[in-house]
């Protein structure tokens, strides 16, 4: 694990739901979304610390993905406000949210199948004037920028070990490679905050480690803020600086990984859903509970 900042930026922050943090990147207040009679998300207050990795956990149906969709403009809440880097983002459409620096990936990867890996990357770049209809017709106006974008994309592809697939259709990539591509592509937008929806799901163990290193790299080398949803607790406890647990749409606990593991509310929330988990995890959790 790469070295953490020497002084804990969250020192003195109490492990309780809705606790204020010294330097929040994202502040969520009173956000609520219901589907019919079911309340999917009902968050009173939540702050995401800047420059750190926040893990978002919770049993299936806890509202993690819905919260992602609301914050990134893919869904509209019944009510609520949230500010991103001091700017009110409620009601802003998804594409503008992305341009303001909130990048995201999807639980089910959205590789653009019939476009090459390189085209997937180039698409994500911002500030390409050739994306405007009239400018598009005059190639000299956008060639220079395109060159620049391609170089940056090539660097990222090397970093994510996808350079050998550069000119293949994205649809030919394996599930794990698609996760890598989606993460690399999100970085082309240069987001200040990266929201990763189950980045490790369906990825083979060999690739998991390299994905984890990439996520840590976002924080340590590039100073980006990361929020990620994950079900594998080993992963969550390994890379998170802060963990938030949702259940039935509400924040029931938050704290440092060490504190969350022994949190009574978290254990109760998960025990209700253990039937879908593998026995090894259940055993581990029971041991933790017993100790």
């Amino acid at each position: 694990m790469s070295p953490k900042p020497s002084t804990d930026p969250l020192a003195g922050v109490a492990a309780e739901p809705g606790v204020p943090k010294p330097d929040p990147m994202l502040t969520i207040s009173d956000v609520r979304r219901s589907f019919g009679g079911i309340t999917a998300v009902d968050v009173d207050h939540l702050e995401i610390p800047r420059g750190l990795i926040t893990g978002l956990i919770g049993p299936n149906g806890a509202g993690k993905t819905t919260l992602f969709n609301l914050l990134t403009g893919f869904d509209t809440p019944d009510r609520g406000k949230w500010t991103f880097a001091g700017e009110d983002l409620a009601g802003v459409p998804a594409h503008l949210v992305a341009r303001k620096g909130m990048g995201r990936t999807f639980q089910l990867t959205k590789a653009l199948s019939r476009m090459t890996v390189m085209e997937n990357m180039q698409l994500a770049a911002t500030g390409q004037s050739g994306e405007r209809f009239l400018t598009a017709l005059v190639a000299p106006l956008w060639r220079g920028k395109e060159q620049e974008i391609t170089e940056r994309a090539d660097e990222l592809l090397v970093r994510f070990k996808l350079d050998h697939m550069r000119d293949e259709f994205a649809g030919t990539l394996s599930g794990g490679q698609r996760k890598l591509l989606e993460m690399a592509r999100a970085l082309m937008v240069e987001p200040a905050l990266v929201m990763l929806d189950e980045p490790m799901a369906g990825v083979n163990p060999a690739l998991t480690q390299s994905l984890l290193d990439h996520v840590k790299g976002l924080r340590d080398n590039e100073g980006r803020t990361v929020v990620f949803v994950e079900h594998d607790m080993d992963v969550v406890f390994d890379i998170s600086d802060w963990v938030v647990c949702l259940a039935q749409g509400e924040v029931i606990a938050e704290g440092r990984p060490s504190e969350i593991g022994s949190n009574r509310a978290v254990i109760d929330a998960y025990l209700g859903a253990t039937h879908s988990e593998d026995p090894a995890h259940r055993k581990k959790r029971h041991e933790r509970r017993a100790s």
């Binding site: 459409p93 199948s113 019939r114 598009a136 017709l137 956008w142």
Partner: protein, 328 residues
């Protein structure tokens, strides 16, 4: 007789109608092939292009260029009217809306109330004078060798296929540009495009307008070549012929609509000519008589398209590799 049939078929395949359908298919290729928009109302865009010329020139006595411009502007307006309410919804809603809108337009221009302007069911004629006055080809001889085109027909063919070439070039330039990349990403997954900061609604609208305007040029060409417009030329089957041409040539390939239009009309032409000639020579059973030529031709075209889908589903110019990828 075989040679006669081939020449008849070539005359159809390279004629003005084939060029007009190529334009319709180029428009559909932008909508469906590159953006993934299911437009089932291309006949409506064709109609406004044709009636734009006919009404401006025949009813109001305006100049030809103004008529073409009116047709193109009407296509822009039609695209906006269709797109604003439907492009935010799922793709199938656009399909339903476009097919209905095209039929509404057709019924509108053929209604009695519209007769003073559109000529109702009788349509309009005599609006091509300006167009044929521009014809630089000398009279009194035939053109294109064995195709034996009259000077007027040769002139429409020249203008029509030049227009097809120009529009193909435009599509080629756009699709290889970053603009085209955004368009194709919307076809693949519009949420992904959105998450990368692309204004999906705006791009879909641009695509709908562009493809519609190209379709309206097809309509104007069609009207000028026939020197008449009639509402019932613009039945929904026109749109499906254009789709057949697009799929035959290869969806999402720039040259597909040209190849598709030529092959499609070659097949239609050869079947019509063959059936007619065999029927005239009493070589066909009674029920295959002259009246049945239209229906039998369509049946054969249907069978050929089925064979194409089975043996070459990507079309003539399509990319097989693209087709094999699962689009999720």
């Amino acid at each position: 007789m075989a040679a006669d049939i081939v020449f008849d078929a070539l005359r159809t395949a390279l004629g003005p109608t084939a060029a007009a359908y190529a334009l319709l298919a180029i428009g559909l290729n932008i909508h469906f092939g590159f953006t993934g928009l299911l437009n089932f109302g291309q006949a409506g865009f064709m109609l406004v292009g044709a009636y734009g010329v006919a009404i401006t020139v025949s009813t109001f006595g305006g100049p030809l260029w103004l008529g073409v411009l009116v047709g193109m502007l009407a296509a822009v307006v039609l695209a906006l009217i269709l797109g604003v309410p439907t492009l935010r919804l799922r793709a199938d809603y656009l399909a339903i809306t476009t097919i209905a809108a095209a039929e509404i337009l057709r019924l509108l221009v053929r209604s009695t109330a519209a007769e003073p302007i559109t000529g109702g069911v009788f349509g309009l004629r005599q609006f091509g004078g300006d167009f044929f006055a521009l014809n630089p080809l000398p009279d009194g001889r035939t053109y294109f060798g064995a195709l034996a085109a009259s000077p007027n027909r040769a002139w429409v063919m020249l203008v029509g296929w030049s227009l097809v070439a120009l529009m193909t070039l435009l599509v080629w330039a756009l699709i290889r540009s970053p603009w085209g990349r955004v368009i194709r990403s919307i076809r693949e997954d519009e949420d992904a495009a959105r998450s990368l900061g692309k204004n999906v609604f705006s791009y879909k609208m641009q695509s709908l307008v562009l493809g519609g305007v190209i379709g309206s040029l097809g309509g104007a060409l069609f009207a000028l070549s026939l020197q008449t417009v009639q509402p019932d030329t613009f039945l929904p089957q026109v749109t499906f012929f254009a789709f057949a041409i697009l799929i035959l040539g290869g969806t999402a390939s720039t040259g597909g609509p040209i190849v598709g239009a030529i092959i499609f009309w070659f097949l239609i032409g050869s079947l019509q000519s063959g059936l007619r000639r065999f029927s005239d020579a009493d070589m066909l059973p009674e029920f295959f008589g002259a009246q049945a030529v239209g229906a039998v031709t369509l049946t054969f075209v249907g069978v050929l398209l089925m064979a194409l889908m089975i043996f070459r589903p990507q079309g003539i110019l399509g990319d097989k590799k693209e087709l094999q990828l699962d689009v999720s």
